[in-house]
């Protein structure tokens, strides 16, 4: 019982780091330099490994992950219980959700090795140049879900509630005071909304809902990062020891363990599963449990089980290996079958500084940080429009928001180098697409009335949308002087401001498409 403080310290640390995680995401709305934000997903060795395999080089940008990997050789799988933001979220919700009777604890043991299958499939796909690890990596997933969906959902809830109260006299003096405080210090400057927020949310909520089967079901059974740490945790120094003389086999530790890492009537531990939450220390009434540093026994044999085959299934069997190979074989065509037009889709506009399309997809870890920091909300996650392997990659939808002049935040926060940082002076001439006028919709071209909003908005130096004043004969046969807009393709950078501001409703009469030809053939 006296060791209960360790369990408390862990819970406090977890809460503190989770709060820090939230603060880093929330603070990204305001600071003009968000470079610190870019370190967040780099703490995942799984992503580092996967990116290294895909790019066939050492992804040295992921050096923070190495620190945690080395630490895990000492402290075991502590990352999951102490640091992981997704783990913290699951810990918050799983007690309420868990219905322990759905799956017996014996079954849980047999589900555990599936996380190695997930890990192996992701790595095999990486070898074949298919990078989807970011979709399921817990750090990337947490950043993406919180940064894009959860924050904008909270934003929307607050705004909807306070907007309703705004029309209530007397009371609105108080609510507006609170609201203005929130707007000043918490909410985003523009209401962020994401086109594909539902798939992102469903994936996140689904992982939390897995806890219905068992506590921390995701971490036990599916998490690929958890699998990496389970492997290092097996040979770590910090281990759980049970004093057989004091232990009464009361099973209170086994019952309290959220990872089902204890077996054999509370005596033995799967070190790879133990996340060092120290709940068992707290639960043990007989002071029989100790966590001690000892040299790893590489060829440690499992003790003789009291019940036959109880934990035999936790091994990564040959069958599981076959499953992983089969799974990755099935996944290859799912991700690789991609007609050419999806790769060079006219409306697929990547943020400035993006690598060439295939390299970009392979390097992007789908953390969504670029979308979070985009001041105009124009960067949006894609779904399957541009191929399954481009899932959740960022693209610019100018009708939602344009690429802001004097801003390079998306490339500054990119943790994986999929977006190369573009210095602001260069950004003004970095082409990401070209604007085209749809003359049948354009007001001057089709209605013979002046408009020129696109020309006014064009932010490139000396304007890339120009106008010629011409005398035309309108549909009723009258002579009219009209200023007709034209796009200069060689200086247009495709920022999409014109498309965003075009007063023609719906799709707009000026649209930004990808470059007509590859960039090197555009100039000269």
């Amino acid at each position: 019982m006296k060791h209960g403080r360790w369990s408390f310290i862990r819970a406090c640390t977890q809460l503190l780091l989770w709060s820090a995680f939230i603060v880093v995401i929330a603070a990204s709305r305001d600071t003009t330099d968000n470079t610190f934000f870019s370190y967040l997903p780099r703490i995942s060795p799984f992503l580092g490994l996967s990116i290294s395999l895909t790019s066939r080089s050492v992804a040295s940008i992921f050096y923070p992950a190495l620190i945690f990997l080395l630490l895990s050789l000492i402290f075991g799988r502590f990352f999951c219980g102490w640091i992981c933001p997704l783990g913290a979220t699951i810990d918050c919700t799983d007690k309420q959700l868990a219905k322990p009777k759905i799956i017996s604890s014996k079954k849980i043991f047999s589900i555990k090795p599936w996380k190695y299958v997930v890990l192996l499939i992701a790595l095999i796909l990486s070898v074949f140049g298919i990078q989807v690890s970011g979709v399921i990596d817990p750090i990337s997933l947490a950043v993406r879900s919180y940064g894009t969906v959860i924050f904008s959902y909270v934003d929307t809830i607050i705004k909807v509630v306070f907007n309703a109260l705004y029309y209530v006299p007397v009371l609105n003096v108080l609510t507006e005071f609170i609201f203005s405080f929130l707007k000043k210090h918490l909410l985003d400057y523009t209401q962020t909304q994401y086109y594909h927020h539902i798939p992102v949310f469903v994936l996140f909520a689904g992982i939390l809902l897995f806890s219905v089967f068992s506590r921390r079901f995701w971490c036990k059974a599916l998490c690929p990062l958890g699998a990496v740490y389970a492997l290092t945790g097996k040979i770590a120094f910090l281990k759980r020891h049970v004093d057989a003389g004091k232990c009464t086999n009361c099973l209170s530790c086994e019952k309290t363990c959220r990872m089902n890492a204890i077996y054999d009537k509370g005596v033995s531990t799967f070190e790879g599963e133990c996340i060092k939450c120290f709940d068992c220390l707290k639960a043990c009434k007989f002071d029989a449990i100790k966590f001690k540093f000892s040299f790893p026994e590489i060829k440690r044999k499992l003790p003789v089980p009291s019940v036959e085959n109880e934990y035999e299934n936790i091994k990564f069997t040959r069958k599981k290996l076959l499953w992983s190979i089969a799974g990755s074989l099935i996944a290859i065509p799912v991700f690789k079958q991609k007609p050419e037009y999806k790769k060079n889709h006219a409306r697929l506009i990547r943020p400035p500084g993006a690598l060439p399309e295939q390299d970009f997809i392979n390097a992007c870890i789908r953390c969504g940080q670029c979308m979070k920091v985009c001041p105009t909300n124009g960067l949006q996650p894609s779904l399957f429009e541009y191929g399954a392997d481009a899932l959740f990659t960022p693209r610019l939808i100018p009708r939602i928001g344009w690429c802001e002049k004097n801003c390079n935040q998306c490339s500054a926060v990119c943790p994986s180098g999929a977006l190369k940082t573009v210095p602001i002076p260069q950004k003004e001439t970095t082409m990401i697409g070209t604007a085209y006028i749809i003359r049948d919709l354009c007001i001057p071209w089709s209605e013979y009335k002046n408009c020129l909003v696109c020309e006014e908005m064009c932010p490139t130096n000396k304007k890339s949308i120009i106008f010629k004043e011409e005398t035309l004969i309108n549909k009723r046969g009258q002579k009219v002087r009209i200023k007709l807009p034209y796009v200069l393709e060689d200086t247009c950078i495709g920022c999409g401001k014109c498309e965003h501001k075009c007063p023609v409703q719906g799709e707009g009469a000026i649209i930004v498409r990808t470059l007509k030809r590859p960039l090197q053939f555009m100039t000269g």
Binding site: P169, P375, N406, N450, P459, T460, N461, K462, P503
Partner: protein, 317 residues
Amino acid sequence: MKQPKSISRKSFLFKTAGIAGGLFIAPLYSKISGVFSRSLAHAASATDDRVVIVTASDISKESIEKMANKAFSQFGGINQFIKKGMNVVIKPNIGWNLPPERAGNTNPFLVETVARLCKEAGAKVLIFDNPCDSARLTYKQSGIEEAAKRAGAEIEYIDDRKFVEVKTPDGLYLKTVWVYKPMLDADFVINMPIAKHHSMSGLTISMKNLMGVIQNRMYVHMSLHSAIVDLTKTIKSDLVICDCLRILTNHGPNAGTPEDVKETRTIIMGRNPVTVDAYTTTLFGKSPSDIEYLSKAYKEKMGEINPGKMKLQKFSV
């Protein structure tokens, strides 16, 4: 034993719902009864159509302060306009995500100086604009957010709920327009544009600056000149301080290269936006009648546009 008087949960909920419902319906009623509907007085009255032009040898912060003080002294000092406790709105041009050297937005030092003078006169100062670029970056990049903080003025982002429909008195193009409410509620409005080239309207000065306080501004571009005249009629500008410290002579309003920026080191102050705008055109080497909205305003008898007939007062500090 006496039972304490208690309220059941059911009746509590009913009563709360009743009160909340009543509060929700109250503003609806007042809307129907016309309490909130507005029709403003003819704004651009030509009571005082002097134009004060102050030029300096440089555009340092000190010179800007001197220029502003000199200009205000011609009107009898700032206390002539602003009394203690007044709500003053300063509407600069914070349209574009550009630094001050690129002449995209009103000079932050000028905004700071004017805001500070108003604060010293005992007024509450509010500064806002509806930028075309990202509001948060534009407020920062223009230096005006910083300037407002230094002067102790309040700066706010446009709140979409605060637009109210206003009838335009004999509008040429607009019948009604949705205007930002704090602009209408202010006791004194200082319109602080920067003089810039503008492809569609010719030049953007104080009249065009009013586009920053209306909703859905891109829909007025189909008949821009008439719309600008309508806005000037509808929305009052009690004082116009035109920033001609740096003017943008080409590729306006936002895409000027450093070569397009001309240092004219001037501020122009007046009470009638039409006359101020008309005089400002001469800095660009243009004649006021070249600008269609000025000729239209002249036809509507909103102010003198011929610089020869204006009451000009020129100074240099």
